[in-house]
Structure formats: C-alpha cells, structure tokens
C-alpha cells in the first residue's frame, strides 16, 4: 500500500458451521512490531446476523513508515451468549503489507535560453 492511501481489507466471515450465532464483531489489529496489535480498527459488518463480508480500512500510514512492513490480523466474535472467538493470522504469518512511497512525478527544469 502506498503511504498516503488507506488500505481496504475485506474478510468474509461466518459462523455458519457451529452454532450459527452469526458474527457479532470483528476487529483488525495491525502494527509493525510483534505482536502486531498496537493499532486496531473495527470492522463494518454486513448487517443481519453478521455472517458475510466485513470491511476494514487501515488508515494511510504516512511517509515515516515507507519501506516498512505492516502486519495485521483479524479477530472475530460470534453472537453466542458465551461468545466464541477466532482469529485469522494467516497461520501465524500474519498478513503483511509493504508500505511504499506514493507515485511521484519528476519534473525536469525548463531552461530558457535567451
């Protein structure tokens, strides 16, 4: 992702296989240092019982993070009275996003000869 733009993350989450309580909440954690949970953004659910597409927006990271790798993972919680939770951390590898500089344009000086 570029340092000046947010990154949209979508997750298709459902609780359909056990209990069927639906997804009550989902949170995306991200950071640059393990355990990569220094920051978090709440997910926007699909409505209904929460089964479906959840959307997250990792904000623009700024130039200070250019060249660094952002790691994130997502935790979800179902709607049971005793909520069950799950995380998706890409089998322990976390999701990794390289922060790159925005596209830049180079303007050559225009020299006028008299």
């Amino acid at each position: 992702m570029t340092s000046t733009h947010p990154l949209a993350v979508t997750a298709n989450i459902s609780d359909a296989l056990t209990g069927g309580h639906g997804v009550a909440a989902a949170t995306l954690y991200y950071g640059y240092i393990a355990p990569y949970n220094g920051f978090q953004v709440a997910g926007a659910g699909p409505g209904g019982n929460g089964d479906g597409m959840w959307c997250f927006a990792i904000p623009a990271q700024g130039g200070s993070h250019e060249g660094q790798t952002l790691h994130f993972f997502i935790a979800a919680q179902d709607g049971d009275v005793t909520p069950a939770t799950t995380t998706h951390n890409n089998d322990g590898n976390y999701f990794q996003v390289q922060i790159v500089a925005s596209e830049s344009k180079v303007y050559l000086p225009l020299i006028m000869r008299s």
């Binding site: 989450i13 609780d15 355990p35 939770t85």
Partner: protein
C-alpha cells in the same frame, strides 16, 4: 434568596425611561397617568413626569398570561408630552432633546414594537453591551432609543411655551401587569395591578348565528371561543364553545347527539349572585357529581358553588335550574323568551340571557365561573368535561372563571386561570456511578401559572435507601423559618412563596432551587437511584399541581464486569483479502480450539492466540488487562468486549503457562481475575492406515473403506482432517475411518494413485499443526 428578575419565555415587560431629568414630583400621579380605554393604553407622561433625573421614572408591566398566549394583539399607546403647563424658554431648553428609552423584554411569536418611525419586528436578544445597566434584563430584551417628540407652541401673550408633541407606539402583546414607579432615591410607589388585558385590534367576541350548526367553514365560532376539545368520549371527540355579548351567553357543543348519546350540563357560579350560597353537588339527574371543592390551579379552598345549571337532554328537552339556598333544593326557573336552543343533530347552539343566570348586563361587576360536562343518559357516568383538565374518571376539579365579562378578547384566553407550581429535577453525574460516589440532585420549582400561589407549598423529597443522605443535606431556596420536616425517608421542604407582586427587582413568579447532596451507599444495588420530588400546595391535603413531580435519578453500576478467555472456537468461513489482492483462508477456518486438560487447564499449540471476551451490564467494559505469565505483570490488551493480546511467549512442549485477565468497567469496577493454565503441545500426532494395505489393489467403482489409527502423546487426537471423517475422541490410540464416501471418482483415483504413507501423512492433520 431574591433573584434578580429574569424574564421567562412567557414574560413581556416594557420600561419607559426619560433621561436627563431632575426630579420626580409625584410618583402616584404617574400611575394615574396610565390607563386603558377600550383596547388602547393612554400613557400621558407629560402630566406627571415633570423634570426627572437620568435614572428617572420607570414604568413597567409584566405579562403573566399563559405561556403560549402571546399571539396577535397590540398595545396602542400615545406618549403625550402635552402638560398643559406653559414654560419659559429656559425651561424649554432643559426639556429639549429628551431621550426616551423604550425597552423591555418579550419572547414569543409575532411581537412588534414600534415607537414613532422606529419599528422592531420580533425583537430579539440584545448584545450585552447594548443593554443599559439599569435594565438588568439578563441579556434579553429590546430597546428603542428615541428623542421625545417636540411640538412647541408659544403663547403669543406670555411668550411661554408648551410642548404638544406626541409619539405613538404599539406593542403586539397580551399583558397583565403591575405598575410601580421608582424614584431616584429608590422609593417605590404602591404597586397597582392592571389587567389581564388582551390589548389587541381584534374585534370583541362575535355574536354567532344560531341555527344549530357551527358553520365551521365560515368561521362562525372563533378558535378562541372553543373552550376545549375533549377526545375522551367513546363516541368521538367533543368540542365546547362559549362566547358572550352585552346581553347573552352563547354556547355550542359539537360532536354528540343529545337525543341519544347523553345529556349536557352547563353550571354557573356567579358572584355576587342572587343566591350567595351555592351548592357543590350537581342537580340529581340520574346521578350527582361533586363540583370542584377547590381549584388548586386557581385558588385553594375556592369551591365552585353552583347557582344555576342549564341542561340539555334532547332537542326538545332542555331547561334552566336554580339552586335555592332557602329551600336547599334545585328548582326550575323559566328562562327568558330569548333563550334559544337549536339542535343540528350532533351539534347544538344555545343562547342564554345573562340576566337569567344572575350575570350583569355588560361586562362589569359579576365574577362568573362556568363548568360544563356531558354524562351518559341512564347511568350518569361522565363522558366529557370542560375544562378538559377535569378528570372524568376521578372527579371535577377545574372550571372557567372570569373576573368580569367585558367583551374583549376570546373567552378561551387564559383559561383556566392558574397558579401552577411546576417541579423539575436533574441528577448528577449524568453517567453511571459506583458505590461511594458523590451524587447531587437538583430540583427547581416555579409558578408557571397565572396567579400567585396562596398559602404554603411544599416539596416532598423521598430519598432511596441506597442513598447516604438525609434532610440536612438539602440546601437552597426554602423557608428556613419553617424548616424542613422529616417523615421517615421523606423530607418536606417549605418553598419560598411567590411574591404577590410582579414588580421590578422582585422575583416575579419566583423560581426556587433545592439541592440534595449525598453518596451512593456502599451496599447499593445496581440500578437507578431515584429521588422522588413532589410539590404540593398544602402539607396536609396534598393537593397537587400538574407537572408537580420530578424523579431525577443516577445510574448505579455496582456490578463489576466479567472477563473470560476464549477457549471455544468460532468455526465457519473466514477469508481475508487485502487491497483486492490474494485471498487468504478457506472455507473451514476455525479459531484456536483448545482442549481441556484439567480444571482451568487447556492444551495449546505453538501458534497460541491469547484472546477473549468481556461484558458489563451497565457502564460497559473500558479496559482489559492481561498477565501473560512472563513475569512482566499486568498489561493492557487490545479491545474490550472482544480483546486480544499477541505478546504471549509460547512455553516449551509439555510445559505450562498461567494466564490471567481482568476487566474494568466505565465507573472503575474491576472484575475478578480469571486464570487459565495452558499446556503446550507442539508435537503432531502419529497416524497410520490399516486398510487397505499399502500398495494393495482396490476395486474400481466401489466404495473403499479406509481404516487407520492415530495417536497423540499429549493432547490427543481431536479429529480427522476431512469433513466426512468423524472424530473418535481424544484418547490415543484412535481408530478413524472414512465411511461411505460418495465422490467415487476422487476416492478411486486417490486410493489408486496415492500410497498409504502419503494418505497417512495427508490426514488427519494435527490440531496443533
């Protein structure tokens, strides 16, 4: 505590101030210079002002009409500088260029203030700097500064001058005022009450056309003549109209058929009347009702003692009755021939000679009260009542009243007259509190009605048992001479009475404030901690005003939150796609399923995730702290109701780790610590295929039963790796098998192409892996 006068939303005042004058000659003569003639206020300043100092003469009046009544209407006045006094040129110089400050305060709709050529529509709030300090209008008001009109006329014989300048002004308002003047030494004249007046340009009450129909399309009856609209009758809403002219009362009833639906009664209490002692029991007509024994809205202990009743049973059955105190009975009387009742089905119009009910012709002299109701014909049960403030299920309490019946303004204006103490309450803090926290309850009372209260009024504050406070913790505006009485957990607080005069610098419609401070009991339960306040007129009879109850409350959160580790997995679909790129995950993603090893102990794998949930039933979870058993103590986790901490260091295989978590809610309540022991199992189970034997042929096109074994040394085999494989419990060794699989092609190919060792390594996958 006397507050500075603070205009209310329904107040209006006007203040005349003549600057640059020297002395006040006669204060009372000023009052005599103010009066109303018809709908015009003639204010002759020239006759009484004389030389006045710069802080000069203050005339002001205050509207105490009902708060919504500032509708159309106007004061039309003339400021007349003609004094009839011839003065010298020298004196003229002293009176030249006098400034008139016309200032006041008004809130409402369609207010117009105009003096001379200067006009303000809907005068608003003046900036503080624009309000002269002598006004002290609390930042609200309007002001017009004008030079008093001058039209000097010289007497050709004496050479002296007199000023015949006049200035007209209008103020669109409805007012009731007390007039008082103040001189430079602070002396005040005796307040004089004027009004209430509806000073407007509207026509006096009209004389309706009596034909049995209200003719609403032609506005035969004015809106201001509709005394009430009662939606309670089962047969539909009813409206009661009333107006009058010099000789007659006119009534109309809309919405009921008297021939079939019920009977109507209009009771009159006139004072002075031909029978000074009326009766509070209605005429026995199927049943009797008790007329208002008091009218707390108007005046306590002022009973409606009926002198006359006009009844309507049907189009041809109606009449007039009179209470005879000499015989203590209701007796029919013959109404004048001008009395008319015209019946239009569900509408009726009535004309009744004033003199027939003991009311003087014209508008002066007779105080008149009216109460009307309808009742079921057979049972006498009340159907409707006017004023509609009467509770038809409880009893009659309210009636209309006019001090006189001067034909100005719709009769519904300002009815019923009222002194109505209103109690409001607030509690702080506004958010939840916990045991031991300080709380404050504030009650304000004010007379929102028309008349001053008479006698005593009390605020009854009932304290809940979970509040550590008593009557000594009440402060504010109360009658300290009478003191606060304690009855159990109730504090009876005598309020400061209304000022009987609405005059400048005295509290008009006094507003008082009471404050109760206390602490939430250390044994308080979770819930609302409510102090119930009721303002009542009399300490013994508890005659209540409307809007007389306030129940401010604070929310007590005495229940700590609950926190837990998540050891149950949410199982389902969980795929992730970042920025439109690759999709991670599959259709069978699941969370960190953990296996119970012992009480409070679970097995975990190398990719241990520490996460959980928390809840709070009141103020909400605001903080989660975890101890990861690494000697670093408590640290904050991410999230609240769904929380996690990824900083845990997995222990070596076979060793254990103790995790702790605790939660804090919005008011600082902390949950009990929850402990979870985890035992690391980082070794995958061992599996083997028993059948078919490695390399053995399998029949094409048939279901192939596959059996095998799986063993795990620590946490046990949780399940097989395919959705058709059925787990057989954790105890090793475990036999597992593929039952009747229907995907023939896949299995045939697989069983033929894969070696048993490959199969064994392919499934079942280790839970830990």
């Amino acid at each position: 505590m006397h507050e500075r006068f603070q205009p209310r939303a329904w107040d209006v005042g006007i203040l005349f101030l003549i600057e640059q004058t020297a002395a006040v000659r006669n204060l009372d003569s000023v009052a005599s210079g103010v009066g109303f003639a018809g709908t015009t206020l003639n204010l002759n300043l020239g006759d009484s002002l004389g030389p006045i100092t710069e802080r000069g003469l203050k005339l002001q009046w205050f509207n105490t009409a009902s708060r919504e009544s500032l509708g159309a209407g106007a004061i039309a006045g003339v400021i007349n500088r003609y004094s009839g006094e011839w003065i010298t040129d020298e004196d003229r110089q002293a009176q030249a260029n006098l400034k008139l400050v016309l200032a006041g305060w008004a809130h409402g709709q369609n207010i117009v203030v105009q003096i001379g050529a200067t006009k303000i529509d809907n005068p608003g709030v003046l900036a503080p700097g624009e309000v002269p300090d002598y006004l002290e209008l609390a930042g609200t008001g309007w002001e017009i500064l004008s030079t008093l009109a001058e039209n000097w006329e010289r007497d050709p014989q004496t050479g002296r001058l007199q000023n015949k300048g006049t200035m007209a002004f209008t103020i669109s308002l409805t007012i009731l005022f007390y007039l008082r003047t103040v001189d430079n030494a602070g002396n005040r004249s005796v307040p004089m009450r004027y009004g209430p007046f509806r000073l407007d340009s509207e026509e006096p009450p009209s004389t309706p056309v009596l034909d049995g129909y209200l003719d609403e399309a032609s506005n035969e009856w004015l809106e201001g003549e509709r005394m009430g609209h009662d939606t309670r009758p089962d047969s539909g809403p009813q409206s009661f109209y009333m107006t009058r002219d010099e000789y007659n009362f006119y009534f109309a009833w809309d919405g009921v058929g008297w021939n079939t639906d019920g009977d109507a009664f209009i009771y009159f209490n006139v004072d002075p009347g031909p029978e000074s002692q009326g009766i509070t029991t209605t005429w026995d007509y199927s049943d009797t009702h008790t007329l208002p024994l008091y009218n707390i809205e108007r005046m306590p202990n002022y009973a409606f003692t009926a002198d006359y009743v006009f009844y309507v049973e049907g189009a041809d059955t109606w009449g007039l009755m009179r209470w005879m105190s000499t015989t203590t009975s209701w007796e029919p009387i013959t109404a004048s021939v001008t009395t008319t009742l015209l019946y239009g089905g569900d509408q009726v119009e009535i004309s009744l000679l004033k003199a027939d009910v003991g009311v003087d012709t014209g508008c002066a002299g007779t105080e008149t009260s009216v109460l009307a109701f309808a009742q079921e014909e057979m049972t006498g049960t009340l159907i409707s009542a006017f004023p509609t403030t009467n509770d038809i299920f409880v009893g009659l309490t309210d009636y209309y009243n006019w001090g006189n019946l001067c034909p100005s303004g719709p009769p519904a204006e300002n009815q019923p007259q009222a002194a109505s103490m209103v109690l409001d309450g607030t509690a702080r803090p506004s958010g939840a509190v916990r045991r031991g926290d300080a709380v404050t309850y504030t009650f304000t009372y004010q007379n929102a009605g028309l008349l001053p209260i008479e006698g005593l009024a009390h605020v009854w504050l009932t304290l809940p048992s979970d509040l550590d406070a008593d009557c000594d913790d009440i402060s504010g505006d109360y009658n300290t001479g009478l003191g606060i009485q304690t009855q159990g957990n109730t504090c009876i607080v005598p309020v400061v009475q209304d000022s009987p005069m609405y005059v400048y610098e005295l509290p008009a419609r006094y507003t008082g404030m009471l404050t109760l401070t206390g602490q939430v009991s250390t044994t308080a339960s979770t819930g609302w901690l409510t102090v119930t306040g009721v303002i009542s007129h009399d300490i013994t009879s508890e005659l209540d005003w409307r809007d007389n109850t306030a129940t401010p409350a604070v929310e007590v959160d005495a229940t700590p939150p609950q926190a837990a580790f998540s050891t149950e997995a949410m199982e389902g679909l969980f795929t992730v796609q970042a920025g439109g790129g690759a999709i991670y995950g599959g259709p069978k993603m699941q969370g960190p399923r953990t296996l119970q090893a012992a009480a409070d102990t679970v097995y975990v794998g190398p990719n241990m995730q520490v996460l959980g949930n928390a809840s709070d039933n009141r103020s909400g979870v605001v903080r989660i702290e975890v101890d990861l058993g690494d000697g670093q103590g408590w640290r904050d986790a991410s999230g609240t109701t769904l929380w996690s901490h990824a900083g845990a260091t997995a222990p070596a295989d076979g060793t254990s780790l103790t995790l702790r978590v605790r939660a804090t809610d919005g008011v600082g309540n902390r949950s009990d610590e929850v402990t979870l022991n985890v035992v690391m199992d980082s070794v995958a189970p061992q599996s083997a295929i028993l059948y078919p034997a490695d390399g053995s042929p399998v029949p094409l096109g048939q279901t192939v039963p596959i059996t095998g074994t799986s063993a795990d040394a620590r946490s046990g085999v949780e399940r097989g790796g395919h959705r058709d494989l059925h787990p057989h419990g954790p105890a090793p060794p475990t036999r597992w098998g593929i039952r009747r699989h229907q995907e023939r092609r896949w299995w045939c190919r697989s069983t033929k192409r894969r070696t048993p060792s490959a199969l064994a390594s392919a499934r079942p996958p280790s839970r830990a892996a």
